[in-house]
Subunit: 337 residues, 2 copies
Amino acid sequence: MTDAELAARFRDRRVLVTGGLGFIGSSLAHALVPAGADVVLVDSLSPQYGGNRANIAGLEEDVRVVVADIRDPDVLPPLVRDRDLVFNLAGQTSHLDSMRDPFTDLEINCHAQLTLLEACRAAAPAATIVFAGTRQIYGRPRYLPVDESHPIEPVDVNGIHKAAGERYHLLYHEVYGLPVSVLRLTNTYGPRMRVSDARQTFLGVWLAALVQGREVEIWGDGSQLRDFTYVDDAVTAFLLAASEPGALGRALNLGGERAVSLRELAELGVRANGGGTFRIVPYPDDRKPIDIGDYYADDGALRELLGWRPTVPLEEGLARSLDYYREHGPLYWGETP
Amino acid sequence: MTDAELAARFRDRRVLVTGGLGFIGSSLAHALVPAGADVVLVDSLSPQYGGNRANIAGLEEDVRVVVADIRDPDVLPPLVRDRDLVFNLAGQTSHLDSMRDPFTDLEINCHAQLTLLEACRAAAPAATIVFAGTRQIYGRPRYLPVDESHPIEPVDVNGIHKAAGERYHLLYHEVYGLPVSVLRLTNTYGPRMRVSDARQTFLGVWLAALVQGREVEIWGDGSQLRDFTYVDDAVTAFLLAASEPGALGRALNLGGERAVSLRELAELGVRANGGGTFRIVPYPDDRKPIDIGDYYADDGALRELLGWRPTVPLEEGLARSLDYYREHGPLYWGETP
């Protein structure tokens, strides 16, 4: 299927994106608006999360933005009422924050998710929902690559709550028939990601360091394996999950082109940046207990069921990301504007 | 180990039981008080849960009862401060209620559990915690008997939240070193259980029907397999989990003597009751989606690690339960007093 054929599926569709000013949410908007969708974005713009008005530069006149906190029980019900598709991306993503403040993580990643599902059940039972899950639910991999049958053994509060949030979605599909699918994301990267800290992924901090001429810090010994999804490929996966019947009721891993070590990733980053340095530093004590070791996904089910495949090699994705932050960095370095 | 040797481990121990006026909580109190423990029971006495003042008849002068809702963030911190053991049994147990009102289930089975663990972490980090988990987290068994490696695939909101509650406990053990163990209960039955409805287990309703001379209703075709733990055996398992180092950081299935079909269970109940009738009725529509089919536990790990084994055969347990409700039934039939 061509990009144009995929985009045509969303013409005139009424779409709600939770976390819509965030990294992946806004990237979806940049795909959906040209496709002719009617797009509503809801985002709290809380400074510690991924929402950033700069992310929808150029789309301001074409989307409806609702700045509101989905933890407020009055926010979601009126927003879902006339929608026929919900990309549910709002979430607390920081593992460390979830340990420091498990209650806030619970409110966002569990309570608000139930609020959304109850609102859809009551007012929009035919609306398709695609939920952004996470590899974090697997915990420390027992084998590699990790497929969807791997035990769910989260090693932090965030993983526990994201596992519950995913289960809610699948349950509301099974019990109430809501058309739901779940993508379990690994490290997603690219333009519009949060780079002011590691709350989305450590790679954001690396990109900022490279562009700003600071040294990249690799935690551990540099040998840890990870996989990375370029955001355009993630957007394609979300659009497929929202429109392919094979995704219904499924939780599917979204992976990347290949697994790389952190050291190799740093070398690729330095090369794509045309310069830079990195050094290997011991793993910080406060993160050790929630480190998961090596991870990379077996996303064969997604590829087979939805026909997805990654199209942007890591080198290319890193170069595009660095270009973006070289141009727009000041909107991302510090506090979210 | 004899019962007396086990009991001696709890002499002068300062114990908190959440859900302490409930079925298993009060049964623990009846074991702990004669053992010489200093026992505090906290219970909300909410009418839809298992708390019942009749459950501590004879112990009123020997335990401290705090009637309070553990969802109130101010309740648990002062209660855990001087304790060295917490039996954490407070929970919302109704599968159906969890579907009708997922938010209340979330507050009790997740939020309040985090409150307890945070309170222990802050004020009683050396206090042993034994958490009452549930087989409900496994969902529909993929194989029988179900051991602890079985996938966690809950089929209702209650199962999702109990899985999260269990994970919190194990996580606080792994990350913060709290001495925690978890028992995954199957159907526990015996004196002091809730019998006014099926919120604890359907068997409560059956016992009430037998004693009151009403017909027992078996939902389904009567062939479903289940296992049952008599409450005295469950109490022994909790005491072992609280005092055997082999339980630390583990989540262990607690099963029963053997698996029986519901029809056989009804026949045993009628016989133990010296009379009665049952009939088989179709499974109610509103429960079908959350039915789990056959279940019985492989509790070999518990038996091996803790030396536990069931001592009360089903026939004997049913007879003792029926005797109890014949004598004390009016305190249990209707609204909790």
